[in-house]
Symmetry: C2
Subunit: 346 residues, 2 copies
DNA sequence: CTGAAAGCGCTAACAG
DNA sequence: CTGTTAGCGCTTTCAG
């Protein structure tokens, strides 16, 4: 570490060839004599050469890095900034995104840098980061429909792919789920098993996905004569599920079915139900959404609407790689279909 | 986006000064006439200039990026690689690490790139990544005592800080918890509330922290005359907690106290207990470890040994920044003290 | 306090 | 198939 790192020049000298030739074998460009290739390779391991990424990026204009950003909407106090990051990462949803993204990035030798953009300043930093060429593009997951980041990215002409369709049209590719169909699936299942006094806990209505899940659910209920379904808005956390169900149970003690807009809330709902002496699914059936890890962990295991997050995240990474590589120039969208997974809660 | 991005040269021309001067104001180096400074600033915003990070890194030899790597030990099949990432990120522990790290990195304008090193090949890639200068240093969290990555990093003379003391001495800084004290705290609490038929579910014994927590627990139990404490080894997951407790309950139906080496397992334990008609803490008291998010979410909320993960992660980031900056040259260690958090489970 | 000039290490034409 | 030659955009002595 004390000695200066060897450069192409050093390897070239060691192998008795030119820098260009060494560069070619390092980058696997053919047109290099097998014999020379071999001697270069030996010189490389003899010198312990590792190409300097900065020098390389300077000319290729690629960093092989993408920003994985979780963006909010409004501004958040300085103190809440860490809380934002903590909350995001703690959500099993995020883990699935990372898993799907990494799976696609790795074989391409690309790496994700984590960024949280919960304030306007932080969002500006993301844009700057990309404009500086610190990353080749961005994968963005918005926690709010009004997230201004997608528009900023598009305006700057930066390669980016979104998780979920932006509320306001933006010329960026995105992947999404047919949330309405998911809501429909949940309603049909609850109705199908005979529930008649059904309530629902939606996600934050500032999130488009929440609205859509709810709309699909309500439409289906209405089609079956259920004009009115009691609703409480939750925040996609276990706690909010607990609070929402506590409220709903007080007003509708005879409830026999619940649709929760995500599994975390469904878990909180099951807890409240149990604590109030209701058996799940015997007395009250509960359907969640996502099919995240807690769906399996929860007691009872959750019947839920599966959202193939890993596949969606993988698709995002693939699309971004295509945009970066220039293979794809026009924005496109990929919509995934939800699927009902029946376990024990309903 | 179509037009070439402006360079220092462009700004210099626009402001009628030299590149050097522009560079100085961009980097906030004083010794620049206020008037000129102002005109340069205007030229910058007029041109929409953003410094090229690659060019900058090439000369400063800094990327303002650090690798945040989660490393395992043995090799894992190709198919399990994504599962590894998924499992890691899904664990609330990881979220706390990220939160603590980001909190320190952000004010330093540094960014974490996520890497999973569960195979020898992946570990080699981490080393290469750093040697290429793609990141200035590494923050490593090992999931196994035999993790070879720390030694590789040290041998390559790369700046790195570890979460937890490495099993085999390595000249690298690390932060850790006084795990033994944590185990002692748990034992004392269980004993103090009158439990006499106590069992324990440890973490994987291949993890040093698990061994230490267990040792501290057993020592204290022994000091109080409990020569033998039934033990089942778990895997730090809810499922493993369920399995372990099912086994223990079958052999020791009269159990009245359980120490779980982490909260996730404690949650599984509570589920099993409840399903077998045992009240927590009335019939059986349960003490967890970590004080992670599930400790609060769990029913009943867990009495647990708090590990200040966010603070520990923040300390890691701080140490790494010092090593990178050359402010600190010798490896050091920071040991945090655990703390008992009493809630309802014991 | 400012400018000129020398690279940082690598890739990519372009010759040969 | 290989070598020569330009830069990529920026920081940083070193003069002035």
């Amino acid at each position: 570490m004390s000695r200066q790192a060897p450069t192409l020049e050093d390897v070239a000298r060691e192998a008795g060839v030119s820098r260009a030739t060494v560069s070619r074998v390092v980058n696997g460009v053919r047109n290099v004599d097998p014999a020379i290739q071999e001697s270069v390779r030996q010189a490389i391991s003899r010198t312990g050469y590792a190409p300097n990424q900065a020098a390389r990026s300077l000319v290729t204009r690629r960093t092989e890095t993408v920003a994985l950003v979780v963006s909010g909407a409004g501004d958040v106090s300085e103190e809440e900034r860490n809380a934002f990051a903590a909350r995001v990462v703690a959500d099993p949803f995020f883990g699935r995104v990372v898993s799907g993204v990494v799976g696609q990035l790795r074989p391409r030798s690309m790496h994700p840098v984590l960024m949280f953009a919960e304030t306007d300043e932080a969002r500006q930093e993301v844009v700057t980061y990309l404009r500086q060429g610190s990353a080749d593009g961005a994968l963005v997951v918005s926690t709010h429909a009004d997230d201004p980041l997608p528009a900023l990215l598009a305006a700057a002409g930066l390669p980016a792919v979104l998780f979920a369709r932006p509320a306001r049209p933006v010329a960026l590719s995105y992947v999404d789920l047919a949330h309405r169909d998911g809501g429909r699936l949940a309603a049909e299942h609850l109705l199908g098993r005979g529930c008649r006094r059904i309530v629902t806990v939606s996600g934050p209505l500032a999130v488009t996905a929440s609205q859509e899940r709810l709309a699909g659910f309500r439409d289906t209920m209405a089609r079956h004569g259920h004009a009115y379904v009691p609703l409480v808005q939750g925040g996609f956390t276990v706690d909010s599920g607990v609070a929402a169900m506590t409220e709903l149970l007080a007003e509708h003690p005879d409830v026999d079915g619940v649709f929760a807009a995500n599994d975390l809330m469904a878990q909180g709902i099951c807890q409240v139900l149990r604590e109030h002496g209701r058996r799940v699914p015997h007395d009250v059936a509960v359907v969640g959404f996502d099919d995240s890890s807690v769906a399996v962990t929860c007691r009872p295991p959750l019947t839920t609407v599966r959202q193939p997050v890993e596949d969606m995240a993988a698709a995002m990474a693939r699309l971004l790689a295509e945009h970066i590589g220039g293979v794809r120039t026009e924005p496109t969208s990929i919509i995934f279909d939800p699927e009902l997974v029946v376990r024990e809660s309903a």
